[in-house]
Subunit: 360 residues, 4 copies
Amino acid sequence: MTTTEQEQAALDQLYRDFGAHHLIPLWTARDDLMPLTPQPAAVPHVWRWSDLYPLAQRSGDLVPVGRGGERRAIALANPGLPGLPYATPTLWAAIQYLGPRETAPSHHHTQTAFRFVIDGEGVWTNVEGDPVAMRRGDLLLTPSWAFHEHQNVTDHPMAWIDGLDIPLVHQLDAGFFEFGPDKLTVTETPDRSRNERLWGHPGLRPIGAQDQPSSPLMAYRWAHTDAALTAQLELADEGHPTALGPGHAGVRYSNPTTGGDALVTIRTEFHRLRAGVRTEPSRIVGSAVWQVFEGEATVALGEQRFPVEKGDLFVVPSWCEFSLEAGTQVDLFRFSDEPVYDALGFTGLARQAAGRQENR
Amino acid sequence: MTTTEQEQAALDQLYRDFGAHHLIPLWTARDDLMPLTPQPAAVPHVWRWSDLYPLAQRSGDLVPVGRGGERRAIALANPGLPGLPYATPTLWAAIQYLGPRETAPSHHHTQTAFRFVIDGEGVWTNVEGDPVAMRRGDLLLTPSWAFHEHQNVTDHPMAWIDGLDIPLVHQLDAGFFEFGPDKLTVTETPDRSRNERLWGHPGLRPIGAQDQPSSPLMAYRWAHTDAALTAQLELADEGHPTALGPGHAGVRYSNPTTGGDALVTIRTEFHRLRAGVRTEPSRIVGSAVWQVFEGEATVALGEQRFPVEKGDLFVVPSWCEFSLEAGTQVDLFRFSDEPVYDALGFTGLARQAAGRQENR
Amino acid sequence: MTTTEQEQAALDQLYRDFGAHHLIPLWTARDDLMPLTPQPAAVPHVWRWSDLYPLAQRSGDLVPVGRGGERRAIALANPGLPGLPYATPTLWAAIQYLGPRETAPSHHHTQTAFRFVIDGEGVWTNVEGDPVAMRRGDLLLTPSWAFHEHQNVTDHPMAWIDGLDIPLVHQLDAGFFEFGPDKLTVTETPDRSRNERLWGHPGLRPIGAQDQPSSPLMAYRWAHTDAALTAQLELADEGHPTALGPGHAGVRYSNPTTGGDALVTIRTEFHRLRAGVRTEPSRIVGSAVWQVFEGEATVALGEQRFPVEKGDLFVVPSWCEFSLEAGTQVDLFRFSDEPVYDALGFTGLARQAAGRQENR
Amino acid sequence: MTTTEQEQAALDQLYRDFGAHHLIPLWTARDDLMPLTPQPAAVPHVWRWSDLYPLAQRSGDLVPVGRGGERRAIALANPGLPGLPYATPTLWAAIQYLGPRETAPSHHHTQTAFRFVIDGEGVWTNVEGDPVAMRRGDLLLTPSWAFHEHQNVTDHPMAWIDGLDIPLVHQLDAGFFEFGPDKLTVTETPDRSRNERLWGHPGLRPIGAQDQPSSPLMAYRWAHTDAALTAQLELADEGHPTALGPGHAGVRYSNPTTGGDALVTIRTEFHRLRAGVRTEPSRIVGSAVWQVFEGEATVALGEQRFPVEKGDLFVVPSWCEFSLEAGTQVDLFRFSDEPVYDALGFTGLARQAAGRQENR
């Protein structure tokens, strides 16, 4: 063997020995492990409501809800994360469907959850024994470790969107799950849940209530969201500067005991754009899922452009350039993992790193 | 001189020399300086609305509102703090009176302020250019350093309660004050202020808004307060445990960006007791001022008992044992300096110290 | 009577009626209550060590230490606060003197305390049973509600400086005090206290230790302080920018569990200025007491200038313009009430208010 | 077809349609996605120093250090995470080797890093231009986005352990990386780095220094760690209770500006066990890597038991029961991802969930 051949043989042997000892060198992997900017495996993608809802209906006919499977929920599986039921590396998003008079049994888990209702009504979700009506435009929370079950009290089916931090908790091996009673524990169907009666008053908190990591207000009603968005747009019309720019209103669902995000690991927001408004292209570290609630828009994700309409869901991976253009006035629900990045200081770091690169 | 006389002479000379050098020994003052438990100079006292309002009316006839004096406000002067216009060592409380069509000129100061309206309407307070209607049962905030002016747009006078942290800021030599324009800067009289339109939606915050030390929501309307109290009492009726016990509801006005007190240095609350309800005697470090909004009660302050009715104000000094007994259903507004004690860790210390003494 | 006379009579009667009802109008007091900038009653003042120490010695001969008086401590009484043993509206500062073989009995209180040793050694202060040697240049803490007693184990007297938040706690009616055993509870005189052995390692904390409001490290030794100051000056000599400017080094005593001030209500610092260095005139809300530890300087307080030398103490009232000029290299210990202002947001407010006035 | 066959065919078609639309149902995956307790893919594993060091040496002969590969670092690849160079789902751990007179070029990245030195000396790591000596027992930090390069100034090689949050940052798509100059930017080799001179004094912080997310003290010297551990064991010998129990001392490397972990996403600790001491079996959410610094022990990981000695590294996956038994007196360095779990509230949740299960 020549010297070079000998060296190559020695190197080959070295790599074999690495493998045998469960070692992987950095120098062959640095570029993938530590790219210059985020290179997500997750890709931008749109799921059509016109596909999702019929599939949920067919599931309703074919698949029972019960112990084990627990929920008739069908998850968005990002095409860039093959085999995984993950919308993004941190977020699980699904359409859940409950047939007439059906119930879904009680359980709880450390994973954080919410429901957003694109359409319909007639289901109550009982959260720690508090029955919460679900209606069009409402956001309903199921904080970590709160027992919850659902019942449909009507003769028509109902579908909605579930969001959870399942991928994050799974990656971090931090999930606990426990089954509750098989039979429905609560059958009342009050118009207003107890948590709303206690916490649903602007700027007022019950004396004696402790701060909580997740919002003790667990139902954010459409009437309030709609009114807040309407007011923001009107204030802009009257000449008052707004954070999101002209023709764009937005609210964040918040925890009244801390002022922070309503949920610890998931940010939840609602946006309204006037017809013709186009947002500035921007990108963040962290990933988001959007659902069109009403109206039509075009979404630009990196180099791609997608028309979207009522019920459509789309994913914005980390650091993907993103903008919206409203065809009609358009209302959108959004959730993201940004609280995770904020808690770990990644949001500020990314801003600093990106700023440096842009200033070259 | 005997030895004793010589010693006494030496001691007298020592104390004279202390005085000459601006020194005071601890051993002659320890008991006053560092009592075993708080020994407030401020005393419990009740001011009657039936006294206050006519005096305010007479001031309206005799005293103009204008530059220098700035406001026609008459302060509660605790009888235990002679010569000082202080309700308690930290809190200033006054009745303010504005005649028909009168205005009060613009100024701002680092002292924190609020207004609470016991009766009437027709005045707008313009806070940083945002006109805020003042009506019965409303709490209106004027955070530190916000320019504010008042105008009465009606043909009848209006009176309300002002609360400020003037004594605290004065004691700490931390006050700044600046005059604004002499003429009214805003004359609009909208039904809803801009801050309410932006922030007055339960659990929703505008995207892009920063956290603020004082609440950006600056008007807390009676309808919300009343609804929250009603709901709390009903929840208790339905068998759900509440923090304040049966027949007693209470809300704290809070800052939606932090979940904390609406104002940095002043706690603001509203209480409702059902007829016949009696609270457990309790005491805290920190002082409070209460105003009866509606109904009749008896207040026990230390060994004293006072009947109180609509409009009456009373002071609870630090560590004074306090309880309420509702004659009719009674509604009360309360403010205190507890956020100061919380921020300095005094609340927890007092609990620890008191617990030790009680456990003997 | 003329109309004017009648009006004046009515006004006089109004003011009499105010008095009778314990009321004081704002308009006659606004200027004093709410000045344009802080107008402290406390004044700049210097106490000479050459006065203080002999007076303490004479007290040692004439006044016993014992139950009730508790400590042979002689407090600085600000000439602007007549009759009060207060260095500033919030701070109590005293020289304490313990004769040969004397002890001071055990007690505890919610007031926060420290000792700073200008000279000497031989006294141990036992804090919650942990004996802490007191030596030249050391700062020793006595957090709220910690039992403490002192013993002098030598044949010579020892004096040091005590600092407490007595005026603040008194004003806020938040003080609790309790006597401990009359006899010394601990007689050991170890070189290093247990708290130092556990906490006195840079950047290392014991696993399992909870955060505490006051520093669990209760002895800050001169050798460390001196080394830190020396290093800062050397770094500046080598061309590295420093926060306090050339020739001026400074350290803040901090709580290793939070990074904040070592004590909740009192800031403690040590400064070193090279000979000839002059600090920029500056002012803050909050008051401070300084003691010269070594060297000579001139201090400018408002319009006044005072030469100061070893042991001299001086007071800087709130918002008083202050600068130092070092005659020789000068070392100074400083304590202030700034944590109180920071906790209440007053520091930022003052900066904002002052900035506005300076930018006119 | 029978009804059952028809149903099965419909179901098969449904699942095919799910696949075609990038959807995955929950009911087939719930058990894996949301297990009753954490079921980590990562497994307990021990890497022997006697394997690692010779492989690093061979790499030193065969593989240059340079641009692109950047570092001669060989990562522990958990056998339960095939193909991934991850010690745990969140932590990257490697042996790094620098030959005589070698340098490693400058770069920075948002990933957080540290080095721990098991043996040897002679390398300086320059962090933001501050040269930091690396010696036996030292922990050296490289906070996010700090430029760093290494140089070996001796004629012998040196190896140490690198720890980074690469897997976490990769999973979250939050990494930024930038190359610095190819040539060494600093060649000084001072005994003490500037950050130590400024920050390495117990309980003292430079006046004017802002709080920082990562510790501004970037070198934790063995002498301090050793002294702290020695003192803890002695205090226990003297009868004082300690958090970790008799014969077990431990320190956490902390950020002097906040009191929290020295690094935002990685906890770093050092433990010492007296010969014969056995820790109670325990488990946490979050994963850890340990390295034996000196002595011999047996580690129990779930059902497995491994003898370990100087230099050996082992991994404790999330929720894996863990205990140590010291053969000789044994010193161990430990790092974990617990700050991530703390920041997201997962630590408290797990305690709550586990408590419930244990209390059945």
